[in-house]
């Protein structure tokens, strides 16, 4: 039994050593600049990050793509998830609670590839035809450009500039938001239910309205756990592969526009690994994987510690 339990340690160590060993080649050639440098194309003077044919491997666009799509996902998902958790724990009539929590559980169980399929054929056309034009209209309006042109976020080279393909960072962010919502919502619900009822009663007894009770009595007490669940959602978003690879557009470039295509760390591995052109190419991809591994371990470890700090002491429940 101890051997079985210890195998979990062994697995983590094994993954780490294997990734370190296999990424040696790229690490020795590029070192730390692998993550922040780039070459400049002598003809076009554009930055050149990733060119397997000529042996240029710099990972900056993948870090950028992962970061931007994950942060977009958090931006969309966090307010919604907290709203759902508040509704489910504090306001929901009893007959709705069961079906709703079942639905959120189902949402968490849908495989990544199915989300990707739906995103490719439903979400991307929806963004391209309806949602993106709406934002392009707002961000491209002459008055907006006059007022906020100095920020560099509006107009043709702003956040919603460039070609509207539907595919791209925004599509990746939206599908990631849909995917991490149930995780954040269910964990937030858990930490909120861990707040003792006496807290709620005490605040209500002082004459607070329901919202004031939730804000002062529940959210404030559960805030560490809520931050923990948000970070856990971030960890999931950072490593999500298939759905992102299907909608992010797959190009190793960095553009300011959210409509532009990109690549995330996970999606570049999924796309190129089995067709790696050289040992160096494979080694560079494994180094990206190693970075992803370390980041997700850090993020998940931190999140777990925060969630535990809050739910510790409450009895174990069925799920």
């Amino acid at each position: 039994m101890l051997a079985c339990a210890a195998s979990i340690f062994a697995i983590v160590v094994l993954i780490a050593t294997e990734l370190v060993l296999q990424s040696q080649q790229s690490w020795h050639k590029f070192g730390l600049p692998f993550f922040y440098k780039f070459n400049v194309d002598p003809d076009t003077h554009l930055p050149l990050f990733w060119d397997p044919v000529n042996g240029t491997f710099y990972a900056l666009p993948f870090l950028y793509g992962t970061l931007v799509s994950s942060l977009l996902a958090l931006l969309i998902a966090v307010p919604l998830a907290i709203g759902v958790a508040v509704f489910l724990t504090e306001m929901c009539p009893g007959f709705l609670r069961g079906p709703l929590s079942f639905l959120t559980e189902l949402l968490a169980a849908i495989p990544s590839v199915v989300y990707g399929l739906w995103a490719m054929f439903v979400l991307v056309p929806l963004l391209r035809e309806h949602i993106n034009p709406f934002f392009i209209g707002i961000f491209g309006a002459p008055s907006m450009v006059r007022l906020f042109g100095w920020t560099g976020l509006v107009g043709d080279d702003g956040l919603f500039g460039g070609v509207n393909l539907g595919l791209g960072l925004l599509a990746a962010g939206v599908i990631l938001a849909i995917m991490i919502l149930p995780i954040i919502a269910s964990l937030t619900r858990e930490v909120m239910s861990a707040v003792p009822n006496a807290q709620r009663e005490a605040v209500l007894a002082l004459g607070a309205t329901r919202w004031e009770m939730i804000r002062v009595g529940v959210l404030r007490n559960a805030r560490i756990g809520i931050v923990g669940s948000i970070i856990l959602g971030l960890g999931r978003a950072l490593g999500e592969t298939m759905a992102v690879a299907m909608v992010i557009g797959n190009s190793a470039e960095i553009h300011k526009s959210l409509l532009s295509t990109g690549h995330s760390m996970a999606s570049v591995i999924a796309n190129e690994f089995s067709e790696a052109t050289s040992d160096m190419h494979r080694s560079a991809l494994i180094e990206i994987g190693l970075a992803l591994f370390l980041v997700t371990i850090l993020v998940n470890g931190l999140a777990r510690l925060l969630v535990w700090a809050v739910t510790r002491g409450t009895p174990v429940r069925a799920n």
């Binding site: 339990a5 919604l80 199915v114 399929l117």
Partner: protein, 288 residues
């Protein structure tokens, strides 16, 4: 004075209503895409599903028709290997955490590691197994895919087994020990047996979760257009086939991808509902 107090009261009431409204709005916004996904999936999948899907292997690119029979069988083979590896080790680990190591620092560290391992991206698991098995053997294989999925099952099975065992009342253990049964015997034939429905549903949950995994199979099992159940050869898998068909340019392959997604979701929904059903009516056989 009194008026100002009233105004503040009204403001507080309004804030309360606004907050309630926002929470309800958030819930609706979350439920909407779920309903949209499921509705569209059933609509597209059901209209594409036919007998050939379950009995035929994929047609060459561009030809109409064919099915995913080899992918369904391939998924079954992969999941069989994964379960053989993941379930015994996972249950063993869970027993250690709940029974033998309870409260020790080592057990806490292992529990923490299991939770962290659960969050490691599946694509990273894929390249690790690639380096470990495929790279050494110099060929893709069903075996390596099964191992990748099996390793992903271990943390989930460990944690659910532990939780289920912890729900067994102490009096049952004490009764067994009081009769002079050795501790290991009491754990295996009393505690584990009492918690077995819960443990089994936990295994099913882990099973359902890896059944839909695509990323770790991309460079281990690789996929296969033909019949194969050979553990040493590349093998087809349902999620892998869905991915390949989704990104292909042919409409008929898109149709098959939707059908495959529906089958996959049906399997997973079945498992999740079963878990909820068992968990809902009390996990423990004769314990309460």
């Amino acid at each position: 004075m009194a008026q100002r107090k009233n105004m503040r009261g009204a403001l507080r009431t309004i804030t309360d209503h606004v907050a309630t409204g926002l929470a309800i709005l958030a819930t609706v916004l979350v439920v909407a895409p779920l309903v949209a996904i499921f509705g569209y999936l059933i609509y597209k999948g059901a209209s594409s599903l036919n007998l050939a899907f379950f009995t035929e292997i994929p047609k060459p690119e561009g030809e109409v028709g064919g099915g995913m029979a080899n992918a369904i069988v391939g998924s079954a083979v992969l999941l069989g290997v994964a379960s053989l590896l993941g379930i015994p080790i996972g249950i063993g680990g869970g027993i250690y955490l709940a029974e033998f190591g309870r409260g020790t620092r080592l057990a806490n560290a292992i529990r923490f590691t299991a939770d962290v391992l659960n969050g490691v991206p599946s694509i990273v698991m894929g390249i690790a197994i690639y380096s470990l098995i495929v790279f050494q053997q110099k060929h893709f294989s069903a075996f390596s895919g099964g191992v990748a999925l099996g390793i992903m099952m271990i943390p989930t099975v460990t944690r659910t087994t532990e939780e289920m065992l912890l729900m067994v009342p102490h009096s049952i253990r004490e009764a067994a020990l009081g009769l002079g049964v050795p501790n290991w015997r009491s754990v295996l034939s009393i505690t584990l047996k009492t918690a077995s429905p819960g443990v089994i549903t936990g295994c099913m949950l882990a099973f359902a979760r890896v059944a839909g995994e695509t990323a770790p199979l991309l460079f281990t099992a690789l996929g296969n257009q033909f019949w194969s159940v050979d553990l040493n050869q590349p093998i087809a898998a349902l999620p892998l086939q869905i991915y390949i068909y989704a990104i292909s340019p042919y409409d008929d392959q898109h149709r098959l991808a939707w059908a495959g997604a529906l089958v996959l979701i049906a399997l997973i929904v079945l498992a999740v509902s079963l878990v909820r059903y068992v968990a809902g009516r009390g996990i423990l056989k004769g314990a309460s």
